[in-house]
Amino acid sequence: MMPIWTKSGKKHAVTLLKVQDCHVLRYISKEESGGKTSKLLVGGKNASPFFKSESAMEIFKEAGVPRKQKVTTFNVTDDAIIKPGTPLYAAHFRPGQFVDVTAKTIGKGFQGVMKRWGFKGQPASHGQTKTHRRPGAISTNKAAKVYRGKKMPGKMGNIYRTSFGLKVWRINTKHDIIYVNGSVPGHTNCLVKVRDSKLPTYKDCNKNPPFPTFFADGDEKLPEDLYDEEIFQFTDPSVTYA
C-alpha cells in the first residue's frame, strides 16, 4: 500500500495490484452454462504443470497456455467475447474507472466470539467467575431453541469477500500494475479478482474503456504510466494555493 496525493493536496492510500500472465482459457455460451449471460474462464499466475492430473491440464492445452494457479469465471455480454488464448493486461482498465476486488480474506483460525463477531464480553473484575470473553446468553426462554446462524465461536477468515466501488488512480503499462484506492481483502501477494464495478452509482462511469479488452499487438501505443486527472504527478512542481 502506498500514499498518493491529489492536486488539491489531499492524501489517499492506494493498493498496488499486479496483473501476472492472465490468459482467457475458455468461452462458455449462455445455453451451456444455463445462466443469464455467457461466461469466460480466465486463468491467473503461471504455475508448475507437474502437480495436476491430465484431465485438469486439458483446459490449458486447448487454449495453448501454461498451467495457471487460479481459474475464475467472468459473466460477459455477447459482444465482449474474447478468443481463448488471448493475454489480458493491466491496460484493460483505465484511470478514473471504478472496480470491485474479490479475494480470500486472511485466515485467523478458530476464534472466539469477541474477535469474530465483536461481542463486548464481560468485565474483568467485580466478581466475574471464569467469564470474561464468553458469549453469555444464546437465546430466550420463549424460543426454546437456538436459531440457525447464531453468532458463535468458529473458524474466521479464509473466505471470499469483495470490496466494492474502488477507484483506479493509476496504471503502469510496463509492469502491468493497477493502483486501486483504499484497501483490498487478502494478505500481501495473494491472488485477487478485479471486475468492473456493479454498483448503480458507477454504472455510467466508464468513459470509453478498451472494449472488449486491450490488445498488446494492436496499433495503440500507450505511455508507460496512465494517471487520473486529479492525481499529483511527481514531475510537477509543489502544490500551491494561490
Binding site: 502506498m2 493536496g9 492524501k11 498496488l16 509492469h175 501477494n189 511527481f234 509543489s238 494555493y241
Partner: protein, 246 residues
Amino acid sequence: RISSDGNPAKFQPPPKPVIIDKQKQREERRFLSPEFIPPRGRTDPLKFFIERKDMIQRRKVFNIPEFYVGHVLAVTTADPYANEKVNRFVGICIQRGGKGLGATFVLRNVIEDQGVEICYELYNPRIQAIEVLKLEKRLDDNLMYLRDALPEYSTFDVNMKPVSRLDHEEVPVNKLQVRMKPKPWSKRWERPKYNIKGIKFELPEKKMKEAQKWSQPWLEFDMLREYDTSKIEDKIWKEVSEGLKK
C-alpha cells in the same frame, strides 16, 4: 656521493609529492536517506522499485537535503488557511519514521512556552522548501525524551540564521547531556530498552540499578533479528545516484 660498494651511486629521483584529492575524499562519504531501505518482509521487491522511481522523480524536482535526527530544520508548506498561503515552522528533528513515500519526520519547538511538535511527510507535494539551519547529530536516534527535558533544550529561535558549514567532511556530533524535569516522565527513559545516552540522569543509584532489571542482554545475540542492510544499501545507493544524475 659514494655508496658502500665504492661505485658512484645511481641517480635517485626525488620522492613524488602525495596529492590528497579533497573532492574524492568528499565523495567517499555517501548518505542514503533511511526511507529508501526496504523493511524486512514478504513484499515483492518490484513494489519497492516502483516506489523508489517515484521518490527519485520527486527528488529531482524538489531538493530534500541530507539531515539526521538532531538537526534544526525550517519547513515551509502551502497552507490554504494562512494569510500568505504559506506556513513556516522551525524545529529540531526528533524522529524520522516510515519507509518509502510515506516517510515522515517530527519537528519540535517551544513557542511562547507551549511545546509544539509537527509531523511532516517528506514527499508531500504541499511542502515548498526544507532548509537545514543547524547541522549536528546527537548521541541518540530518537530524541523523544526532549518532551520531558527542561524547555530550554527544545527552544529554537524562529528567525534563526542558517549556520554556515565549513567542512563537507563529517557531520559534528553534539555530546550534550540533557537535564530532565522531575519525574514522572512520559516514558521511563532510564530503562535499557530505550538505550539513551543523551540524558544526565540525576536519579539515585538505587533507581538506576532497579532499571537494569528490565535489561535484555540476549537481544544483541538474537540471530533472527539480524538484518544486514549493507549490500542492499550499496545497490540502492547506485540506483538512486544514477537516477538523480539523469
